[in-house]
Amino acid sequence: MSAIDDLTGELARLPGIGRKTALRLTYHLLKQPPEQSRRLAEALRTLSDKVHPCARCANLTEEELCSICRDPRRDAAIICVVEESADIGAIERAGEYRGQYHVLGGRLSPLDGISPEDLAIPQLLNRVDSGGVREVILATNPSLEGEATALYVQRQLMSHGVTVTRIARGLPVGGDLEYADGVTIAQALSARRAM
């Protein structure tokens, strides 16, 4: 395989990039000064070397613990459970929430072979059992899969002596948390309900 095929093949695996675009990007890079390609390669290497899940909440970080878990002003007694790290960014942009997070790493999806065992649920139960947690807010997506996931997590938490709430349906059904505007997210958080 040639170097051009190699890079084109790798680029084409990225979301939203087809074979044609991958080839165009490859030729674009060939026309640039070599330093630019080297900087890109270095940035990619640093990314995979440095970024990993937070040891406590699985948010992406370059440290042992993410910036939210390290922040003493954040309320460790409240944990907001989300499907993906990207959802944390969406909730943080709303600027209302002062607690911590827990990233499940997906949602229940039998058709994709994703079962409870594939989600970071035991880690959440451990956090709750280690004490000091008063409330767990379930902020999975407002879709059928997100609801099924929330209900499952709620049942797992039932005997662990913690208040479990679900974000309200201010969010559009079938929509995606990552794309909701800040006002909608803030409303959904403030109107959360007990489960």
Binding site: P15, G16, L108, S109, P110, L111, D112, G113, S115, P116, E117, S143, L144, E145, E147, A148, L151, Y152, P172, V173, G174, G175, D176, E178, Y179
Partner: protein, 250 residues
């Protein structure tokens, strides 16, 4: 490009690119189809927030012969089925029926298949935690029947000789169901099916929605269904949802 407006149910949905979603639908007039819902993650304007799993409504599709992916122009939702997400037995059961439909269904218009899937989701949605597996078994077998490969229960799948109601028979997945004594002797493989299990299979296939199987017989029938489907799969890819449904490790 032709515009097709047809009854449709969402069987599978996954994110595509920045803000779109690819949906797999079973439709009344176009069979099983994959459609691109542009911008569905970002805005619920065009699709009315109705593009959730197991939702039913009228889909407006742009189709082009020879293309794998239609474009979804709109979806008028008639009903959503949130109850299917309220219990993992129901959720995995409905997913197993969806998977079976996706793997065996074709692109031809099939009103019978569409109605079987719609009835299946309605039945599973109202099933109690204890009866969700029976409702799923019945639904899955009825979808199999609509797809045209229901197992023989009362006549021999090989020679079509009638079978006595009280006979213990050989059930051959390859031969498409129950075999008479003579054909059963020469069958390469199969599973012995006592008369009550065969009666249950008939009930699952053709009626009696009041049926609720006890745990051991639900398990046995799940195994029978899984083996039967595996025999009819041509591509050897696993049926993930069916496995999770049968597994019940939650």
């Amino acid at each position: 490009m032709a515009l097709l407006a047809t009854d449709a149910i969402v069987l599978h949905a996954f994110d595509y690119l920045e803000s779109s979603r690819i949906l797999r639908l079973v439709t009344r007039e176009g069979g099983v189809r994959s459609v691109l819902a542009k911008g569905a993650r970002r805005s619920s304007r065009r699709f009315g927030g109705g593009l959730d799993l197991f939702a039913q409504g009228t889909a407006h599709l742009y189709t082009k012969p020879g293309r794998d992916l239609d474009t979804l122009a709109g979806f008028d939702i008639a009903r959503s089925r949130p109850a299917l997400g309220e219990d993992l037995g129901r959720f995995t059961g409905a997913s197993a029926v969806a998977e079976l439909t996706l793997r065996f269904g074709g692109e031809a218009a099939d009103g019978g298949l569409f109605d079987a899937v719609s009835n299946a989701f309605d039945a599973i949605a109202v099933a109690s935690a204890g009866s969700a597996s029976t409702a799923t078994l019945a639904s899955a077998w009825r979808v199999v029947a609509e797809l045209g490969f229901a197992p023989a229960t009362d006549i021999c799948g090989e020679c079509h000789a009638p079978i006595a109601p009280d006979a213990t028979t050989m059930f051959s997945h390859a031969a498409g169901g129950t075999l008479c004594q003579r054909c059963g002797r020469t069958a390469p493989a199969g599973r012995l099916l006592p008369p009550d299990a065969r009666h249950t299979l008939r009930q699952l296939l053709y009626g009696d929605d009041s049926l609720t199987l006890d745990e051991p017989s639900a398990r046995a029938h799940q195994r029978l269904l899984r083996e039967f489907l595996a025999e009819h799969l041509s591509d050897g890819r696993p049926l993930k949802a069916l496995e999770l449904w049968e597994d019940r490790r939650w």
